[in-house]
Amino acid sequence: MDSIIKRIEEEIANFTPTQGTEETGLVRATGDGIAEIDGLSNAVMTEMVLFDPTFDRTLEEALKDAAPIYGLVLNLEEDGVRAVILGDGSRVYEGMLVRRLGRLLSIPVGDSLVGRVVNALGEPVDGKGPIKDTKFVPIERQAYGVMDRSPVNVPLHTGIKAIDGMIPVGRGQRELIIGDRGVGKTTIAIDTILNQKNEPKESRPICIYVAIGQKESKTARIVAELAEAGAMEYTIVVTAPASSPAAFQFLAPFAGASIGEHFMEAGKDALVIYDDLSKQAVAYRQLSLLLRRPPGREAYPGDIFYLHSRLLERAAKLSQEKGGGSLTALPIIETQEGDVSAYIPTNVISITDGQIFLLADLFNKGMRPAIDVGISVSRVGSSAQTKAMKKVASKIKLELAQFRELEAFMQFASDLDPDTKKRIEGGQRMTEVLKQGRGEPLAFEMQAIIIWGAINGYFDGYEPSEVTAAEKKLRDFIAREGIKELEGVRTSKDIREETEVALHALFKKFNERKA
């Protein structure tokens, strides 16, 4: 024993640290999650710094509070820098030593993130232990250029008839989901994740759900819902709850994009949902004002457009030379009283490749999802639609457009001519067919067959109020007796002549049973 103690004492006596030169600064002032730092004249934008709580304390005190506090440099000034504190700001004090870390803010990414819930810095928050086999990538990076991209031509099915039929989303597209609070924006996003279970495993996109400024109870409910449906097998949740510092809420979407890019660069497909970017904009406004940047319209800083454009530009469909992977983005924006002409909504509308408008009026009328198909649009997705969907979608669009024209005359129903009445009823039936409950995404072949039935008049024997119930029964019937037809549409991605013949027979059989 004595010899061991003597040996360790010798080791300590001979220990010679070889630490090199580091660049340091001193905290001049701190408050509201922001630190003004003297020095660090060589620091660069978005570089990480370390606030060292151990520097001017004894070892015993230092070890009690040794957890590092990181900061992110966001303002470079004449005699110092301003940084946001990524953590507990109350531990940072005036005169505290700050070290440059010489690296940009990075997060760990890797396949092992799948199924996990992480914060904006990629640290696990689900209590399932550390995440292994990861590599660090910068949270901010340049989006891929024109030559590295290929056109969007593969569909990303949401499982929602109204969207896949009329506002299709392609892999690599950026489609905005916009509407007031409580009209079903998150529901569409979650249903889209759930629907990926219907995709073959080899082409199933990895889904990343980024919760920004949400209540933790809501995020917990979503995680539980995804886990229960088995969707966490291909999903990662990045959370920056309302209780987290504004810096985390500003960074979370970038973390989600970096994770998505990891899968895209590996030649896979990924889907990232930013829920929601209005809250990110508010967090960024808070940071900018505290950093004393000049406020602009609605007190947002001048670079608020660039904040969203550089984030959404990272969604891409890569060329075959780059591996052919894709990153699809579904940003969500919350409007106030349906006002889409506010600053942030107009910015994001102009950045994205289309938008899905959800209306509170439709929602209150019982239309679920409450999509206004008249003003919703997808700018690139239609070229990614399957032949089967294309065949049926053009007819629903026309029928619904005619219905909208005549909708105003509905109150004079008794005075209308039979043709107009028929068109109105047809539109009402089609609207009912497009209704879909929460958590009930449908595989594209099932959607195509139901819409095919609707445009071929197989719901004409029902009163509009009976259509929803009939459609539910039809789904069960097709799943039971139309396996061959479903398989035919799934494999060919088309409704061929022979399939059409079989579908006519199938629908006749269904209606005969009703009779």
Binding site: P17, E23, L26
Partner: protein, 119 residues
């Protein structure tokens, strides 16, 4: 950045010393801004404190290690204005100078080791 800070910084960086102060006072009188003088003084005091905080300092764990620390730090091009003895360093030394830090103390090594193990 306020006007008082700008004037104070200009005075500090001016090679003309007293002449610069006199010129500044004349300028402030001519502009009717003599009220700024106390604020300029406050800014100057802050600037002095800040420059003292970054003055070259060598901190050594014990008197016995002082000579070796001076030799080692000089080999790295470091000449301290002041040398401080701080036993909380446990062993070794650390040198600070205008935003540069060389920390070769036992405390730093042990803290880093603790962090690597626990985080």
């Amino acid at each position: 950045m306020n006007l008082a800070h700008v004037y104070a910084s200009a005075l500090v960086s001016s090679p003309e010393g007293d002449k610069a102060v006199a010129s500044l006072v004349t300028h402030l009188q001519a502009r009717g801004r003599m009220k700024l003088l106390p604020r300029i003084l406050r800014e100057l005091t802050e600037l002095r404190e800040r420059s003292q905080a970054v003055a070259p300092t060598l901190t050594v764990a014990s008197e016995a290690e002082k000579a070796q620390a001076l030799t080692d730090s000089a080999a790295l091009g470091f000449t301290p204005d002041t040398v401080v003895i701080d036993p909380t360093l446990i062993k070794g030394w650390r040198a600070t100078k205008k935003g540069q830090l060389i920390d070769r103390s036992g405390k730093r090594a042990l803290t880093d080791l603790y962090r690597n193990i626990t985080t």
